[in-house]
């Protein structure tokens, strides 16, 4: 559990984060979103003490951050950034096994762990373990970045625009793999993004910020259906109900086929329905049951 109590961070005159109160539950994904410069990265970097707050306290596991030794705190908090920051002089496996090495694991165990993680993030260990970061594409490097953050099985994960620097298709695949990994590993994640759809797709809770001030903190559905002020309403956009469709995941949709391992959402179902000759189509739900879907049913499903 990560708790913010009245956390404020200033850079000179500028207040980057202003009186932040927020709690991230164990095993949940909290997505920080907001316009550029609103203080997302600053918030994230205070959690692993790359930055110290000027006011307020942050607690991790009910213990104030200032009572932790920074280096050993960071060993328990995986960190992924957009520029990836792999160490250029180390091979992929050495990069991934970095935290285990700092924790004093034996070399054979580190190698084994690196291979496991390459598998988890969908890279073939045979092919990738001995490469240097300069030999990876942007998307591969980001996967390795995620693998490195997960290597020592830390309970916490901080991700700053982890899927930012790749094309939309790769990003969709990365998001999908992240969701799969998260559903298995149940980390406590704080993730920063610019992309509202990504936030809706990945988040249990969304924290929407503006000029350092938290505007609304709630589930994707809450943010979309009941914006608390004009700023939030504008931010989620007039097509916010269409975005809602993405929050509902289905098991299968007749006539739909997506990328390997990906699952359709209500949005895909609506698209199929619009092009179907009948007034309804068959979809499979997540629990395995089947259902006839028409426009009224879709409305019911997005407005719980």
């Amino acid at each position: 559990m990560i708790r913010f109590h009245g956390v404020t961070k200033r850079y000179g005159e500028k207040t980057a984060v202003d009186g932040l109160d927020m709690t991230v539950e164990n095993g949940s994904v909290c997505v920080l979103i907001g316009p550029s410069g609103c203080g997302k990265s600053t918030t994230l970097r205070m959690i692993n003490r790359l930055l110290e707050p000027d006011e307020g306290t942050i607690e991790v596991d009910d213990k104030a951050l200032r009572d932790y030794d920074p280096a050993s705190l960071r060993l328990r908090i995986g960190y992924v950034i957009q520029s990836v920051g792999l160490l250029p002089h180390m091979r992929v496996w050495q990069n991934i096994a970095l935290v285990p090495r700092l924790l004093g694991w034996e070399k054979p165990r580190r190698r084994e762990r690196a291979d496991e993680l390459l598998d988890i993030v969908g890279l073939d260990p045979e092919e990738y373990r001995d490469k240097y970061p300069a030999q990876l594409s942007g998307g591969e490097a980001q996967r390795v970045g995620v693998a490195r953050a997960l290597a020592a099985d830390p309970p916490y994960l901080l991700m700053d625009e982890p899927f930012g620097a790749v094309d939309p298709l790769t990003r969709a695949t990365l998001q999908q793999s992240f969701r799969d990994i998260q559903s298995r590993l149940k980390k406590t994640v704080v993730l920063v993004t610019h992309d509202l759809d990504e936030a809706i797709y990945l988040a249990d809770r969304i924290a929407l910020m503006r000029d350092g001030v938290l505007q609304q903190f709630g589930s994707p559905a809450e943010i979309l259906t009941s914006p608390v002020n004009e700023f939030v309403r504008e931010f989620v956009g007039s097509d916010r109900m269409l975005r809602m469709l993405n929050t509902v995941e289905l098991g299968a949709v007749d006539g739909w086929s997506g990328a390997d391992g990906s699952r359709p959402t209500l949005r895909d179902a609506l698209s199929q329905l619009l092009s179907a000759p009948e007034r309804s189509i068959r979809v499979g739900l997540n629990d395995g049951s089947q259902e006839e879907l028409d426009f009224d049913r879709i409305r019911e499903m997005v407005l719980p």
């Binding site: 692993n48 790359l50 280096a71 050993s72 705190l73 960071r74 060993l75 908090i77 960190y79 950034i81 520029s83 990836v84 920051g85 792999l86 160490l87 250029p88 002089h89 180390m90 091979r91 970095l98 935290v99 700092l102 490469k131 240097y132 970061p133 300069a134 030999q135 490195r148």
Partner: protein
């Protein structure tokens, strides 16, 4: 045959025209410039003999040279078998001048002009051909892949061994440099070792002092300018002036402190030489330590921190390995410079190969000067190559597959 050709083609790239031309043109010098230089004694003016002055076998040499040259041009033009043709050319232009030099010496000997006092040395044509050979080998090495490079180097060594045999066989023991060497062979080895010792210790000291100084300059912005200013000002002091400046204080120190005198510290000799050389070697080491640390990307540094590295771990696991190639480049510069600078140490009684140069200058004996210069140049090249290799090794990750933003 075709298989071999294909393999060669797959492991090389087209040869470049300019170096080939650079190698073809001066080779012609062998026919127009002197082949052998004869002096009746050590310091007398000599006489150069050209191809036309001697009864050398013009026709076969000309035929061989022209064939090899035509083959290179044709191969390059047809883009076929370029590597074998260039290799043939390189070998030819390397060994033929020395064969001719040897033949010329035999002829002079037979004519009774090579008495006990007389000295011979290669004429201008042989030296110009050497330039041609360098260009040819360089181009050959450049245009083959790493897999073939060993083969080319083996060929080069074979050619050099052949040349060495030519030089060593009678009557060429009369080559002036070798005579000079034979007279002082013990001294030569001593001074060579002293040269290596002096420059090697200077670089070692400069590294021991310069790396921490560079690290301090990196950590403390305020000291940075001061440290750089001091080290670069030192470099602007002419070496003779530096030795001069050190003599008086060191002499005084040695008089005042008997222990130091007992350790061999004095105004002349090894101590001032070592101090001066170390001071000169500081700048490249300090500057490259600083640059090396400064070019470690902040994102990489922070990523190490965010992974949970302590300051010390970050320094040893991130900053040092990433700064190492740049640091090694600095030590390389320092070492090559030190090999050259150590020459001047000969002037203040510290020995080294400079001793031969200054002796030779004093006696107007050019051969003696050359005897000092050649190993200095050789030493500088060897040092440069060794550090280049180390640098490559240390930069593995960045070099392989190129760098990516």
């Amino acid at each position: 045959m075709i298989k071999v050709q294909r393999w060669l083609a797959a492991n090389s790239q087209p040869i470049a025209l300019l170096p080939v031309a650079v190698s073809l043109v001066p080779a012609a010098g062998i026919f127009f410039m002197g082949i052998i230089h004869l002096r009746p004694n050590r310091i007398a003016d000599g006489e150069a003999f050209r191809f036309a002055d001697l009864a050398l076998p013009v026709a076969p040499v000309l035929a061989l040279a022209i064939t090899a040259a035509v083959l290179v041009v044709a191969a390059r033009w047809a883009r076929q078998a370029e590597i074998p043709a260039l290799a043939l050319w390189a070998v030819t232009v390397t060994i033929v001048p020395w064969i001719l030099f040897h033949m010329a010496a035999v002829e002079l000997f037979d004519a009774g002009r090579l008495d006990d006092l007389a000295r011979v040395s290669p004429g201008g044509g042989v030296w110009v051909a050497l330039v041609a050979a360098l260009a040819a080998w360089h181009e050959l090495l450049r245009s083959v892949r790493r897999s073939l490079r060993g083969l080319v180097v083996a060929l080069l060594l074979a050619a050099l061994a052949f040349v060495a045999v030519q030089i060593a066989s009678p009557p060429l023991e009369r080559i002036s440099y070798i005579v000079e060497y034979n007279v002082r062979s013990d001294r030569f080895l001593d001074e060579l070792l002293q040269h290596i010792r002096l420059s090697g210790s200077a670089v070692a000291f400069a590294t021991l002092i310069g790396v921490p100084a560079g690290m301090i300059a990196y950590r403390h912005r305020r000291l940075r300018a001061a440290i750089l200013d001091v080290t670069s000002t030192i470099q602007t002091i002419p070496s003779l002036a530096m030795f001069g400046l050190l003599i008086a204080p060191l002499a005084a120190l040695s008089r005042a402190v008997p222990t130091l005198r007992a350790m061999g510290v004095s105004g002349v000799g090894t101590t001032p030489a070592l101090i001066a050389l170390t001071l000169y070697a500081l700048l490249p080491v300090v500057r490259n330590t600083l640059t090396g640390l400064a070019v470690v990307p902040p994102s990489v540094r922070e990523s190490g921190q965010a992974m949970g590295m302590t300051r010390r771990q970050r320094f040893w696991m991130v900053e040092v390995p990433l700064a190492l190639p740049v640091l090694l480049r600095g030590i390389r510069t320092a070492a090559v410079q030190a090999v050259g600078n150590t020459t001047v140490a000969g002037l203040i009684g510290a020995g080294g190969l400079g001793w031969f140069i200054f002796q030779g200058l004093g006696q107007a004996a050019t051969d003696l000067v050359v005897l000092g210069v050649i190993p200095i140049v050789g030493l500088a090249i060897v040092v440069d190559r060794v550090f280049q290799g180390l640098q490559r090794l240390s930069a593995r990750g960045e070099v392989e597959g190129g760098t990516r933003a």
